[in-house]
């Protein structure tokens, strides 16, 4: 106890009176720490933290870019697909139209040919009929003349030929037949 009292009564015992050498060393120690951290080590780590932040953000940006590209490619692909579908539909439509036109054309051609054939047939028949009628008329005239000559006994042939009586008669008959029809 006595030692403690002696010690306490001595100078420099007040714990709130700062000893100067400690003050200096304390400042020195802090300045060393501050100098190293502020000038070298913290800038170091700040740079790396910044790099890390950029790396992370860069990765995100890259992913975003890839996604955008994928999206655009998908849209392009979809557009192409739609175009192809459209094209196919158009081709089908065209083919259908062409087919229909072809069929119509063929049908018209067929119709035309049929009509031609029919017309040719009719003309042939008409011509034949006319030829037959004229031949018949001549024959009938001849026969009738012969018959009449035989009946009259005299050769009326020349006279008949001259007067064309028979022909006239036959024409009259024809006309009558025509009128009756």
């Amino acid at each position: 106890m006595s030692q403690l009292l002696i010690a306490a009564s001595e100078g420099g015992e007040n714990p709130l009176v700062p000893p100067i050498p400690e003050l200096v060393i304390g400042l020195l120690a802090f300045v060393i720490v501050f100098g190293f951290l502020a000038k070298k080590l913290l800038p170091n780590i700040n740079k790396v933290l910044e790099e890390r932040r950029e790396a992370i953000e860069g990765g995100i940006e890259k992913a975003e870019a890839a996604q955008t590209e994928a999206q655009s490619v998908l849209e392009q692909y979809k557009a192409q697909l739609a175009e192809a579908r459209h094209e196919a539909a158009r081709l089908r439509q065209e083919a259908q139209e062409q087919g229909a036109a072809l069929i119509a054309e063929m049908r018209a051609e067929g119709q035309r040919q049929r009509e031609e054939i029919v017309a040719a047939g009719h003309a042939q028949i008409e011509a034949d009929r006319k030829a037959a009628a004229s031949a018949l008329r001549q024959d009938v005239g001849k026969l009738a003349t012969e018959l009449a000559g035989k009946l009259v006994g005299e050769s009326l042939e020349d006279h008949a030929r001259q007067s064309r009586v028979i022909d006239r008669f036959l024409d009259e008959l024809d006309e009558k037949a025509e009128a009756a029809r």
């Binding site: 050498p21 003050l23 720490v33 951290l37």
Partner: protein
């Protein structure tokens, strides 16, 4: 007992309970915070003692730690870098950005980070075996740090607020106070300009001083009572040593945090528009 009570370790004495030896013979006191110089003369101002050794050693440990962690930092951090980054980030975001703000505070991050780790290391010496003395329980160390902060604050306030603004800032000039304005200004002036660096330093100093005294008390008491029935008390006292050591571990970090938080608050106050 040796003639010099400052150089005695707890178990160096033969003084025990029931031996006719009083606890006052060995109890901790102001002398526990005095050290014989390792070099030089204690009467002059040219000497080197244990606290100075610990202060410089602590600086080297901090630099060594951050050198190992941040010398060649990687974008993908290793374990040590991760730990150091966590500490750095805690002060940067948790203290500086929170109080001063990101834009204004960035400039002060190295200062505050250095301050925090320096104070913490100096506190930590308290429970590091063999050293076992908190450097910050010598008033010089907290005081010099508080003075550095104080000078920073005064210079910054002058720069930011100008001459009139400085006085308005430190006196808390506010017209709406009316008749009590002179009194309030006087109190604020004292509080900000004179008492602030003192309280800033003493808050840290006193906490460490008291913590170290408590640890000493229980440690020495454990040894002192180690006699006869006193062994039971010694056991209790020793448990208290363990508990107080754990508590000190917490207080050391907390006081370092409080110290830098106050620093940031002062710096922020210097930048704030006067109201």
């Amino acid at each position: 007992m040796s003639a010099d009570p400052t150089q005695v370790l707890a178990f160096d004495t033969n003084c025990h309970l029931f031996d006719g030896c009083g606890f006052a013979e060995v109890s901790p006191g102001l002398h526990s915070f005095l050290f014989q110089p390792l070099w030089g003369d204690g009467d002059s101002n040219l000497y080197f003692n244990k606290t100075m050794l610990l202060a410089l050693l602590g600086s080297l440990i901090i630099i060594g730690f951050f050198w190992a962690a941040f010398r060649r930092p990687q974008v993908v951090p290793g374990k040590l870098q991760m730990v150091a980054e966590a500490g750095y980030d805690f002060i940067r975001r948790g203290v500086v950005y929170e109080t001063i703000g990101k834009k204004e505070g960035e400039k002060y991050v190295p200062f505050v980070v250095s301050l925090f780790f320096f104070v913490w290391m100096m506190n930590l010496w308290s429970i590091i075996p063999v050293a076992q003395f908190p450097v910050t329980s010598i008033i010089s160390y907290p005081l010099v740090l508080a003075l550095v902060v104080y000078i920073t604050w005064v210079v910054l306030t002058f720069k930011r607020q100008g001459f009139v603004g400085f006085w308005k800032n430190v006196t808390g000039y506010d017209k709406s106070l009316g008749p009590v304005l002179p009194l309030a200004m006087l109190i604020e002036l004292f509080s900000n300009l004179l008492i602030r660096p003192f309280t800033h330093a003493v808050r840290l100093f006193a906490n460490m001083f008291a913590g170290h005294t408590l640890l000493l008390l229980f440690t020495i008491a454990s040894w002192y009572m180690l006699n006869g029935i006193g062994i039971a008390y010694a056991g209790v006292s020793f448990v208290m040593v363990i508990v107080m050591t754990a508590f000190e571990l917490f207080i050391q970090a907390l006081q370092a945090y409080v110290f830098v938080l106050l620093t940031c608050t002062y710096i922020q106050g210097a930048m704030a528009e006067h109201h």
